[in-house]
């Protein structure tokens, strides 16, 4: 058809371009309209109480990841923003905070904090509302293995199941045979009790004694005495900084020949610990588990990058070893990146979609690991036993890895 004339072509082209432009403008207009409203990520952690340091690390880790993502253009064309609430370790606050956060539109997921009890408290609500709950620290086994289907909880952190076994192995390798368990009387303590006793039995060791304490306990000497009477040769501790301090004080007050070595979960590292028991710390043998440590990171380059990014945002810290609660930093960082990937994959801010998308991420090069994949429908814990190390406080109060086993 030669009949189409040049002027006709001109017209079609102009109309096509106009239409395309209009559509583009429309789309971009809708995007920019949306651009005004960032995608929110909630963070509910202890920001001001005894584990404030963990909350701070987690929020900083999240922020660093956020900045990086926003620098790349954000997710789904929108920037990410962090909304932080403080539950002060109080599960009831946690529940109210959770409700408040989840009520926000545009809030796609909530990061948790250090406290397993809070996590456990909010689980029903999380699943009732149906918001992804990302755990960068709380290690209680039932937090992730919660029986809910679909499971909205994802974790890049320690799971007590293998943490307990790891700690018992550490004791075993050191030649101890009669472990005394000193556990906090909460879900976290209970989950460890299960894991540890199972690990002890499987290694033909003995559980000499199991002592429980409540939050706020002021004197652990009776529990220690009971352990000694039962003939324990090592103390496996599951406690938070306040109670950990109480134990260290009690242990240091014993005559040197009566003191027992302490192999602890990482709860005590979540807050100001070393500085509070500086003198007594030198009198006792205390080791605990960690995942990420700047002195021995799984991927030194990525760790360096992370630190540089940290320094850009928080230039007051000069020595990376001075960064408190480093695991929280690394875990939160990886979690936010993973979330971003999921949001992209989901293609929307639909929470359920994002939940599903998290399960389908293929692989991710994180600071903690090369996740391949990070989560599966059956496994919502991204890290495994391989990520655990044993650490201690050095004389400066920094967390340093313990070399050997």
């Amino acid at each position: 058809m030669n009949r189409v004339q040049l002027s006709d072509r001109w017209l079609i082209t102009v109309i096509a371009v106009a239409v395309w432009l209009a559509m583009t403008i429309c789309y971009t207009g809708s995007v920019s309209a949306d651009d005004v409203r960032p995608i929110l990520i909630g963070l509910d952690a202890d920001m001001s109480s005894a584990s404030a340091q963990s909350g701070q690390s987690i929020s900083r880790g999240a922020r660093i990841a956020l900045e990086e993502i926003n620098a790349r253009g954000g997710v789904l064309g929108r920037s990410l923003s962090l909304v932080v609430t403080d539950h002060r370790g109080n599960p009831l606050r946690g529940r109210d905070n959770m409700a408040d956060l989840a009520a926000m539109p545009d809030l796609v997921a909530i990061l948790g904090g250090l406290h397993t009890p809070v996590a456990l408290e909010v689980l029903p609500l999380v699943h009732e509302i149906g918001v992804p709950y990302l755990i960068p620290w709380a290690a209680g086994t039932p937090v992730v293995h919660n029986g809910y289907d679909p499971n909205f909880v994802f974790r890049v952190s320690v799971c007590d199941q293998f943490a307990g076994d790891f700690l018992v192995q550490a004791a075993f390798d050191s030649g101890f045979g009669r472990a005394g368990l000193l556990l906090e009387n909460t879900g976290w303590g209970r989950s460890n009790s299960e894991a540890m006793t199972g690990a002890i039995d499987s290694r033909n060791m003995e559980t000499a004694s199991v002592q429980w304490f409540n939050w706020g306990v002021t004197d652990l000497s009776p529990a220690l005495a009971a352990m000694q009477k039962a003939g324990a040769d090592v103390v496996l501790l599951v406690a938070n900084p306040p109670e950990g301090q109480v134990l260290v004080k009690a242990m240091a007050s014993l005559p040197p020949e009566d003191r027992l070595p302490i192999i602890s979960h990482w709860g005590i590292t979540g807050g100001k610990f070393a500085s509070q028991v500086k003198d007594d710390l030198g009198q006792v043998s205390l080791m605990f588990l960690q995942t990420f440590n700047f002195a021995a990171p799984p991927f030194p380059d990525r760790a360096d990058d992370l630190f540089r990014a940290y320094q850009r945002l928080y230039p007051e810290v000069e020595n990376r070893m001075d960064i408190p609660a480093a695991p929280g930093l690394a875990h939160a960082y990886d979690l936010v990146h993973l979330l971003a990937k999921a949001i992209e994959t989901a293609g929307s801010t639909d929470r359920a979609a994002i939940r599903d998308a998290l399960e389908t991420i293929d692989c991710h090069a994180g600071v903690m690991a090369d996740y391949q994949p990070p989560f599966t429908p059956d496994r919502h814990d991204a890290l495994g036993p391989a990520s655990l190390i044993v650490a201690r406080y050095n004389y400066r109060g920094q967390v340093v890895p313990v070399h050997s086993w």
Binding site: N214, W215, T218
Partner: protein, 1060 residues
């Protein structure tokens, strides 16, 4: 009375009013104080309760269990509700609990004991960091207590514990203490007022209040306890007027009582007045008052009664007086004492019969007459002077006068004149009494004379006298008695028998007492004792105390005893010193004997060893003759020494009285036979005749000391044999029965010889110790034999005499009392000789000697080393058993104390085993107590012998046990050195000694002076070279130990030469 009554009444009423008012004020004050105290108490207790509640809330808030429940869902849901249900607020009554709840940070209820609304206000309070730990509120709704709960970090406010009480419950918490009074409590923290129970509020003016204010900002602001004034007052009124009424009533009652009592007391006086009235009216004196009333009235009536009695008593009838006067008359006239009254100096008053008789008149003629009529003028004058004195002085006088009686005899009268004075001091009359003391005076004079005679005698004899009332203990001593012990009688006063007892030596007192007893019992006619009494100078004086009971009581007990003391101190002292000297001599004598004996004993022991081994050596056939000679010398010397020592010992024992004469039955015949056999060889060898004359009838056994008798006989016969060179020796025995006592005999034994006899001068001293006459010196001996024999004979109760004529011979004779002994006891005599071997034809005997000490083994084996004995030794019981088993000894000498196995055990085992049971075991032991002996025989030993033992005993026992017959050696030199060398008298003269060179003589002298026999023997050959005869003489003398004889013969010049 009426006048003073109204003012008094007004006064009383005023006082009552004042008292009432004071009382009321006081009561009000008390009440206020009480209310105040109550208010204080209520304040404290209510505050305390509220505080307690606050503490409870705080405790719950800080409880880590509760904190843990805020954190952990499981606890929160499962445990906490149940726990809270159990909670109750402190301080509430049983049926109330209050509301206790746990709220979360927003004020929502987590758990509570009762259903409760949420409290958002609490949430707001928790949000406020300045809210403080606790909040308190008390308002119309009640009490609210909020305590913040911190979790995880001190100071965090994450929850709250709330205690709520309703208004009702709060009111229940208030402590109203169930008072009747009205209490109102105003609380702080809201200022709520609580009142106690339902009280009608009273108008304010009627209230008494006790009020306590609390600190601002405290639980309680104010507590007011109030009570009703009117109530107090009404109580007060009641009590007051009741008291008043009681008081008044009491007073009235008292007044009435008093009135009645007084009335009663006064009534008896009426009766009394009546009675007195009657008495005064002389109606009847015999009335006595009888008053019943108070004590004072009684006394008064009693005194009045007494007064009436007196009155009655004094009105006695004249007849009574007259009767009395008559009685007096009779009395006066019958007493032998002269009594007369003097109205004036020379006028009689009444006189009694005695006086009238003296004067030779009748009483009625004398009475009231003038004195001068009856008395001779001189007598009258004397009387007058005496009377004058009395009348003038008004004092009694006593005098003695010689007066003529009616018979014209001079009588001595003791006259007493006593005046009777008027009230004004003048003499009314004088009563004179006179006693005839003429006889009495004479007696006194006689007594005095007698006394002085006695005094003279006693003083002449310088005897102290004592008179003792045995029953009462009173005693009278004279001056000399006291003087003997250096006192004056005055110093010793008061004396009694105790005085004497005090001074007497306690021992003598006892003896004196005993003698007194015997005298009192009639056993002694006179009592005599020598007593020591302590002189004033502190020493004892000897007093010869003699006396006799002079009077006895009716029942035969001694009453009075009298006696004398003589100072015999001097004679006693003489006596004592004499006794002391004698004692000293005796003890010196005895000491000497003891010394001798102990020394001899010390010497004897080693000497026995010397003799023992000497004997053994003497039987050793391997010695050369020269050696044997020397050995014999040793033995001889030893035996001589032994004999000497034995004799000395014997002597000393006899002298110190330690020899006891045994009395046992023995055969005189056998003794004499032994004697004969002992000397027969010697007698034969000397060519003497021996005759033994014994009576035909001799009792088989006589009781006496065989050993001592033998000793005496050996001595006498030995002497006879020793000194007689030719002739005959006769031993005569007589037994004369005593006529009176059938069993008693007089044993006379005489030993006569035809020897050289004894010079008369020597005869005297022949029985003295260590006296040897010329001849015996040359012959040898110890010099004690006869002395011992004499003493032994005397000890045995007999006498020894000697008859001798020089050249003819001597006869020693002694006689003893003996008794015939019953029975025919065969006392074994151990031959005092050691056998040299078994009799020929005997089988050899095997003897085992067991002893752990070498020395003892040696001794025994040496002793037993005679032909016929095979000897083996063992060191202990075990070895003994081994050897016995193999060798089968005939006899074993077993020592007891041994190691490994002792004697007892070995003996037992030997006896237990059949094979060895027949062995004759002789146990040897040093200890010989009865128990040990028993033990030895119990173990099974056949015999035992004590250490030290005699060889003869050993052989005797062996012989007995094994039935052996021994061969004895020829009797050698027996007891007293019967060598022929000893027989002949040897005289060594100066002439003999001069023959020897001076040097040799000197050597002899030196050697002899120190008694070196061996050296002397060495010198023998040298002397022999020069002069054999002299040498022989010297040899004999040396053998006899007569060194003196040799020394005497050595020329003077040598001696002198030595001395210079």
């Amino acid at each position: 009375m009426v006048r003073i009554f109204p003012p008094l009444l007004i006064l009383v009423l005023v006082f009552i009013g004042l008292a009432y008012h004071q009382h009321a004020r006081y009561q009000m004050k008390m009440e206020t104080q009480r209310l105040h105290a109550d208010a204080e108490r209520i304040f404290q207790s209510t505050t305390e309760r509220l505080e307690d509640l606050s503490r409870q809330a705080a405790y719950l808030a800080k409880n880590d269990f509760i904190i843990g429940s805020l954190i952990d869902a499981r606890f929160r849901n499962e445990v906490l509700p149940v726990f809270f249900q159990s909670l109750k607020a402190h301080g509430l009554p049983v049926d109330m609990t209050g509301t206790i709840a746990l709220l979360d940070y927003k004020g929502r209820v987590i758990a509570a004991n009762h259903p409760m609304e949420d409290m958002p206000a609490v949430g707001a309070w928790l949000d406020d960091p300045e809210g403080g730990e606790e909040r308190r509120q008390i308002d119309e709704t009640g009490l609210t207590l909020i305590s913040a709960v911190a979790i995880y970090r001190p100071g965090s406010r994450e929850g709250a514990v709330v205690i709520r009480l309703s208004a009702f419950e709060t009111a229940a918490l208030m402590d109203f203490s169930h008072l009747k009074d009205g209490v109102s409590i105003t609380t702080g923290y809201g200022s709520q007022v609580f009142h106690s129970s339902s009280h009608e509020p009273l108008p304010a003016q009627r209230l008494i209040r006790g009020r306590i204010q609390g600190n601002p900002g405290g639980w309680i602001q104010e507590v007011v306890v109030s009570s009703d004034q009117h109530r107090i007052l009404s109580i007060l009124r009641r009590s007051f007027f009741m008291d008043l009424g009681v008081m008044t009533g009491a007073m009235t009652l008292l007044a009435i009582l008093l009135f009645l009592v007084v009335k009663k007391a006064v009534s008896p006086l009426e009766g009394m007045a009546l009675s007195l009235k009657r008495i005064v009216g002389h109606e009847d004196l015999s009335i006595r008052l009888n008053v019943n009333g108070p004590a004072e009235m009684q006394h008064l009536s009693n005194h009045i009664n007494q007064m009436l009695d007196r009155l009655g008593a004094s009105t006695r009838s004249v007849e009574e007086l007259q009767t009395a006067a008559q009685n007096q008359r009779i009395l006066l006239d019958n007493i032998p004492v002269q009594i007369w009254y003097l109205k004036t100096i020379d006028t009689y008053g009444a006189v009694n019969r005695a006086h009238a008789d003296f004067m030779g008149k009748r009483p009625e003629n004398l009475a009231y007459k003038c004195l001068n009529e009856f008395l001779p003028p001189d007598e009258a004058a004397i009387c007058k002077t005496g009377d004058q004195e009395v009348f003038e002085t008004g004092e009694a006088i006593v005098s003695e006068e010689w007066l003529l009686d009616s018979a014209g005899e001079d009588r001595l009268l003791s006259i007493t004149k006593t005046p009777r004075l008027h009230r004004d001091g003048s003499v009314e009359f004088v009563v004179c009494s006179a006693v005839d003391i003429t006889e009495q005076r004479q007696m006194e004079i006689d007594l005095k004379t007698e006394r002085s005679r006695l005094e003279a005698i006693i003083t002449g004899t310088r005897a102290g006298t004592w008179e003792w009332n045995v029953q009462t203990g009173e005693a009278v001593f004279n001056e000399r008695w006291a003087e003997i012990i250096g006192y004056t009688l005055e110093e010793l006063n008061p004396v009694s028998i105790e005085t004497w007892q005090k001074f007497v030596h306690p021992d003598d007192l006892a003896q004196s007492g005993a003698l007194l007893e015997r005298h009192f019992n009639g056993k002694l006619d006179y009592y005599q004792a020598e007593c020591r009494m302590k002189h004033r100078g502190g020493y004892w004086v000897w007093v010869l105390d003699r006396g006799r009971v002079s009077t006895w009581t009716d029942d035969g007990r001694p009453l009075m005893m009298s006696g004398t003391h003589l100072d015999i101190t001097e004679s006693k002292i003489a006596e004592e010193s004499l006794k002391k000297a004698r004692d000293e001599a005796d003890s010196a004598n005895r000491a000497k004997s003891v010394f001798l004996a102990s020394m001899s004993h010390e010497i004897r022991t080693p000497l026995s060893a010397i003799l023992g081994f000497g004997d053994i050596l003497g039987r050793d056939a391997s010695l050369s003759p020269a050696q044997m000679d020397k050995v014999k010398t040793i033995n001889r010397s030893g035996r001589h020494l032994l004999k000497l020592i034995n004799d000395i010992l014997d002597m000393s024992r006899i002298e110190s009285g330690r020899v006891t004469i045994e009395t046992a039955g023995f055969s005189l015949k056998r003794l004499l036979d032994n004697l004969e056999s002992m000397f027969c060889l010697t007698v034969e060898s000397k060519g003497l005749q021996w005759a033994l004359e014994i009576p035909d009838q001799m009792p088989p056994l006589i009781a006496g000391d065989e050993a001592r008798l033998r000793q005496v006989l050996i001595n006498l016969v030995g002497n006879a044999v020793k000194f007689t060179t030719s002739g005959k020796i006769t031993v005569r025995v007589h037994l004369d029965a005593d006529k009176e006592t059938p069993d008693l005999f007089c044993l006379t034994m005489a030993v006569a010889d035809t020897g050289p006899g004894i010079a008369e001068s020597d005869l005297v001293h022949i029985f003295d110790a260590f006296q040897q006459c010329q001849t015996t010196c040359q012959i040898g001996g110890t010099g004690l034999g006869l002395a011992i024999s004499k003493r032994l004979v005397e000890l045995m109760g007999g006498q020894i005499t000697v008859n001798s004529q020089e050249g003819k011979g001597s006869c020693f004779q002694f006689s003893l009392p003996v008794k015939a002994a019953a029975g025919s006891m065969e006392t074994q005599t151990i031959p005092s000789q050691i056998p040299v071997g078994l009799a020929p034809g005997s089988d050899p005997k095997r003897i085992l000697v067991v002893d752990d000490l070498e020395v003892n083994l040696d001794l025994l084996t040496s002793i037993l080393a005679v032909p016929g004995f095979e000897i083996r030794i063992a060191k202990n019981g075990e070895q003994a058993l081994e050897i016995s088993a193999d060798w089968a000894p005939h006899a074993v000498f077993m020592d007891i104390r041994m190691p490994v196995m002792d004697g007892y055990e070995a003996i037992r085992r030997l006896k237990a085993d059949e094979a060895t049971a027949g062995i004759f075991i002789i146990a040897i032991t040093a200890v010989v107590f009865e128990e040990d002996v028993e033990k030895i025989y119990d173990a099974g030993a056949d015999r035992f012998i004590g250490k030290p033992f005699k060889a003869e005993e050993i052989f005797h026992m062996l012989g007995d046990g094994l039935g052996l017959t021994y061969e004895y050696p020829d009797p050698e030199s027996g007891d007293a050195g019967t060598c022929d060398t000893d027989q002949k008298p040897v005289t060594l003269t100066e002439t003999d000694m001069v023959r020897l060179p001076a040097a040799l003589t000197q050597a002899v002298q030196d050697v002899l002076e120190i008694g070196d026999v061996y050296a002397m023997e060495q010198l023998g050959p040298e002397i022999r070279k020069i002069d054999a005869g002299v040498a022989e003489k010297i040899r004999v003398l040396v053998k006899r130990y007569d060194y003196d004889a040799i020394l005497k013969a050595i020329p003077q010049r040598s001696l002198e030469g030595r001395r210079s």
